[in-house]
Amino acid sequence: MHLSGLDFLFWVAGFVGHVVLLFVLWWRKRASHYPIFTTLIVSDVVRTVGLYFIHVFGTKGQYYYAYWFLSIVDVVFELGVIYELAAHTFRPLGVWAYDLRGKFVGLISLYLGIASALTWLASPRTRTWMGTLVIKGTFFSSACVSELFVGMLAISATAGLPMKTHAAKILQGLGVYSIVELVIDAGHGYLGSGSNNRAYFVLSHIRMAVYLGCLCYWILTLWPDQPAPRELTNEMRLQLSELQRGLQESLRRLRSGRLR
């Protein structure tokens, strides 16, 4: 596979970006709070280095299989990051908020249905069934990740469970990238992956450029600390206590049918 100067530039920039982000996660002690996200970034570093050596010393076939195997690993970690962010947001007391379980199951079913339907409709122009499988698989994962990102954002806002600052930043970066990736994978799904398909490579470069932008965003936003927590005033504490007592009593009567 021929790689241009621009490809190598993206390769080096991606490697440097991941290393800097890893440094930020470690130095600012974010890694312990977001271990799956940190693992995703570590895997990206390993992937970049590994693919480089396979490209230089390995065969075309080895590179092909390594590339797609590592892409699958990447998608698994991305889904893991979404789980991690959801756990940070929707388990405020250590267990999943019970009012959201049904919503989650419903949304995931809906997302899988939409992603499956679109993937089934895609008919990329490829020369092998393997190429078709790879393009369809990539599109399916992009659709799932971008839908999950938007679903999390919507549930968080409607349920009144605010995301912590760093979790929100990770999700925003991943979300923007996944939506762009969805568009680009749709382009791949339509255009196919012929070796002389210039549009395929242009789209790939756009995707890499957007990802580099996300890396920069994460580096800049994960470096500062989250806003310092405030202490409740005695007045607010009392108000909350009274309000909570009133609500509990109202609900108890509501459930039992007693209004007075």
Partner: protein
């Protein structure tokens, strides 16, 4: 271009448009919510006439506490209750109040980690109450309000009434400077 490709492109376009719109809407909403102060959230509580609400609440309840017509009382029919509560607009006000409580809980979670337990309980309670009003709004939308009202309305209305009055009382006791503003909204 075959038919399947056309459907694929249209589907992707619609999906991306929907995802971008939803993400944009909820990002803005989350950002706005994160900037609100405690006072500004409380001030969003909508006024609900306590006398009317109390009348509705007590109308269809036996002394035993079980729902149903109270012996000796004339009783209000669904149309009258619908009118008294202010129709769909009145129900929307109740739903809006439950959203205020959810926002209060979110504000606490965001700014005061020590209040996490209280905030989560408050959020869950407010969500449950919002659910009751949601059932009523849904019934109104499908024209089944008359059937659903006896099951949901009085309880939900009375609960909302008590919640807002509780808040007003708290401010009356603890923060006189804000009471005038609150009384206008409740």
């Amino acid at each position: 271009m075959n038919t399947s490709s056309v459907y694929f492109l249209i589907g992707v376009f619609v999906l991306v448009l929907a995802l971008t719109s939803v993400a944009w809407h909820f990002s803005l909403r989350a950002r706005r919510s994160s900037r609100l102060s405690w006072e500004s959230i409380v001030n969003r509580l909508v006024w609900v006439d306590p006398k009317i609400v109390a009348e509705i609440a007590l109308d269809l309840v036996h002394e035993s506490g079980e729902p149903g017509k109270v012996p000796g009382r004339e009783g209000l029919d669904s149309a009258r209750i619908w009118e008294m509560i202010g129709g769909l607009e009145g129900l929307k006000n109740l739903r809006s109040n439950s959203q205020v409580l959810i926002d209060l809980a979110a504000h606490l979670q965001r700014r005061y980690p020590e209040a996490l337990v209280v905030a989560e309980e408050l959020r869950l309670d407010a969500r449950e109450l919002e659910w009751h009003v949601g059932r009523l709004e849904g019934a109104a939308g499908t024209g089944n309000l008359e059937i659903s009202f006896p099951f949901y309305a009085q309880r939900a209305v009375a609960t909302y009434y008590r919640m807002t009055r509780q808040l007003l009382t708290l401010y009356a006791q603890k923060n006189l400077s804000m009471l005038a503003d609150l009384e206008k909204s409740l």
